[in-house]
Amino acid sequence: MVANQITKPNFPLADHFDSPEQQVDAGKLGMWLFLATEILLFGGLFVAYAIFHNLHPELFKAGHRYLDVKLGAINTVVLLFSSLTVVLAIHAAQKNKTSMVALNLVITLVCAVTFLVVKYFEYTHKFHAGLLPGYFFTNGEIPAPDQAHIFFGIYFLMTGLHGIHVVIGIIVLLWLLVRSLKGEFNEQYYLPLELGGLYWHLVDVIWIFLFPLLYLIR
């Protein structure tokens, strides 16, 4: 992909690397390793989910009815679309279309913010209904056994941690946007875009798992 660029001037090569290939490969490898750790981080929560689902399946059935599938589905679509625009941004960089890079990043950012806004409405609704973890659980109408709070504990943990990742993603995207507006990305150098994109895909993929596990359990 990036062969024969050693002589080209548009590549900021760090001085401990011998070639752009080496730098690009190292960067990507590092990012993949980091993504692996992220997956393991969520892995712990998925394990907790599995264990409690196994212990109290009835809880999860009762709990998930109180989640809004429609809003969840909208968010899923929004995130999927934002993954697409990130790819388009990289694509544009490869074609040297600097303004398209920025445009696509802006769309991605809008999606990310939309996601958070939807989540905000979901959360506030739960706060009002008292569908909260642990001691804070005050909802009286839920026809579940007295441990329904565990479901909401897990719900808030998983979506909360994911939400934090969305926020970090937004910061990363903003930083990329600034750099792209400065015209730093071009057909030779778009590594940061690629790495940021990888991160954004991860955020997306995790949501793809969370959505069915929390909203659609039968």
């Binding site: 401990h16 190292a26 109290h56 973890p133 642990g134 001691y135 565990i150």
Partner: protein, 536 residues
């Protein structure tokens, strides 16, 4: 070639001023900063240990109250584990040596390297600040539900461990990328020094296990603050689940502690025997094998926690499996010395100490892996003795050996050999005096984390306390030996030990800022002592 090196200034003097250190991206400087910080916390943890031992001089109150005693062993354990031994060898020696041995100019991501150092510093400060909100008294294992009911700075200390985890992850990511992408031309995987294999295997564990610890600690904090009901039995949670999560990280973590130690020992034994290492591939692969199997044995800390017999059985079997690669390494090191040209210089003596003490520590690990025996020994001083034999007798001996070995490279100064020899003798003697009696009292039933104890154990405790003073003095003496050399030491030649790896053969002591004048080319294995005479 050598003459060349002397002209350019070394990494220590090439830039001056405090900020040239604080903002450096040079892996060698970062390694040194880690070394100093880790040693600082080692002494702090050691001081807590001495206070522990003083309290145990007599059965009732000797110097502190029960509550303070509990805080002392928690701080001692947490500092030693999270601030000293896990970052220990990889972040200090690894940072310094790894790029040099690979023939690289730096690690793959120097900025992330510096960032991980500062994350470490921040984590350490948070850990210490827990002292001000009321020291934590849960033991370093933070078991629920005790940790969600006791007062004190549990959240602060747990958060510190969480932050430190990220430092560890970033170091791991950095090293793996460096090993994959920055090897010198000609350096194939099987031409890499075994130190690198060991650090590489460690890095794998670091990035695989640490995130699980991170999320566990987050869950613990959330449970404590918001009472979610995941670990709290009063809310329908499962306290044993925490133990599973915790050990899923912390067992692999014990190999994060020992693999770098083993990595150092591999270097020391060949160099001081002037002989190619026996079973290079076996040692390299056994590091990887240990890294992989280490993820499957966590349940051996929980044989009596009420898990099913079948689960206990599986974990016991896998525990024994992980002993085999360790055994393979031991045998290979012994065989390396056969027909060598052995010099018992200070680093080699540390290696011998490692050999002796790690064998005892590892073999007593096999006692603990044996199901019916562990029922009796679990949570007694036998376990305390086991893990000090592997962590202090194993890892720390290797760490000291590594420091003495690379000291001339790091500082350009030779230390006083007689003083070096005496440090080893003091430490080995003091160590055995402190911890061997703990096997005896543990097997006889003395539980750990006990402030009061039956009078009959007093004699053992007193021997142990005397030993700990000797041990502490030994470590103090080692550090003095090194510090004295900075002022009075002779200038170190580039390759005082006649070693065969790049950091000795291709650059000066201390190295120049960019490590090498010319990109080194690798044309042979790392331990071909008959070939190096020409190049230096």
């Amino acid at each position: 070639m050598v003459a060349n090196h002397l002209e350019e200034e070394s990494y220590l003097t090439s830039k001056k001023g405090i900020s040239s250190w604080l903002f450096t991206l040079d892996h060698k400087r970062i390694g040194l900063m880690y070394l100093v910080s880790v040693m600082f916390f080692f002494f702090m943890g050691g001081l807590f240990a001495i206070l522990l031992r003083m309290e145990l001089w007599s059965a009732g109150e000797t110097i502190v109250k029960a509550k303070q005693y509990n805080q002392l062993f928690t701080l001692h354990g947490a500092i030693m584990v999270f601030l000293v031994i896990i970052p220990g060898i990889p972040a200090s020696l690894g940072n310094f040596v790894l790029p040099l041995q690979l023939g690289a100019k730096d690690v793959a991501f120097p900025r992330i390297n510096l960032m991980s150092y500062y994350i470490y510093v921040v984590g350490a400060l948070i850990a210490l600040s827990s002292l001000f909100v009321g020291a934590i008294d849960t033991g370093w294992t933070f078991y629920t539900p005790y940790s969600i009911t006791t007062d004190g700075g549990v959240v602060v200390m747990v958060f510190a461990a969480f932050v430190l985890g990220f430092s560890s992850i970033f170091t791991g990511v950095n090293f793996i990328a460096t090993v994959h992408k920055l090897r010198a031309p000609g350096m194939t995987w099987f031409r890499m020094p075994l130190f690198i294999w060991g650090i590489y295997a460690t890095a794998i564990i670091q990035i695989m296990a640490t995130p699980v610890l991170a999320i566990t600690l987050v869950l613990l904090i959330i449970e404590r603050v918001f009472h979610v009901g995941i670990f709290d039995p009063q809310l329908g949670g499962d306290p044993v689940l925490f133990q599973h999560f915790f050990w899923f990280y912390s067992h692999p973590a014990v190999y994060i502690m020992i693999l770098p130690g083993m990595a150092v020992i591999s270097e020391l034994i060949t160099t001081f025997s002037q002989k190619r290492i026996f079973g290079y591939k076996a040692i390299a692969y056994s590091s990887i094998a240990i890294a992989v199997i280490s993820f499957l044995v966590w349940g051996h800390h929980m044989f009596v926690s009420g898990q099913s017999e079948l689960v206990g059985m599986i974990f016991s079997a896998l525990t024994f499996l992980v002993a085999i690669p360790s055994g393979v390494k031991m045998f290979n090191w012994a065989a390396t010395m056969y027909q060598g040209s052995i010099s018992l210089a200070t680093p080699m003596l540390w290696a011998m100490g490692f050999f002796l003490l790690f064998a005892i520590g590892g073999l007593t690990g096999c006692f603990l892996g044996t199901l019916s025996i562990d029922v009796h020994l679990h949570d007694t001083y036998f376990v305390v003795a086991h893990f000090h034999y592997v962590m202090v007798g194993g890892t720390f001996m290797a760490f000291m050996g590594g420091i003495f070995y690379w000291w001339p490279k790091m500082t350009g100064k030779m230390y006083n050999e007689t003083m070096g020899v005496w440090s080893v003798i003091l430490v080995v003697l003091g160590f055995n005096l402190t911890f061997f009696v703990q096997f005896l009292m543990g097997a006889q039933g003395m539980p750990r984390r006990y402030y009061h104890y039956l009078d009959q154990f007093q004699i053992y405790h007193q021997i142990s306390t005397v030993g700990s003073f000797l041990l502490g003095f030994g470590f103090l003496f080692s550090v003095i030996t090194l510090l004295v050399s900075l002022k009075h030491g002779k200038k170190a030649p580039p390759n005082p030990w006649h070693a065969a790896t790049f950091e000795w053969t291709e650059t000066a002591s201390p190295p120049i800022e960019h490590n090498f004048h010319h990109q080194p080319i690798c044309t042979r294995g790392p331990y071909e002592y008959d070939q190096i005479a020409k190049s230096v």
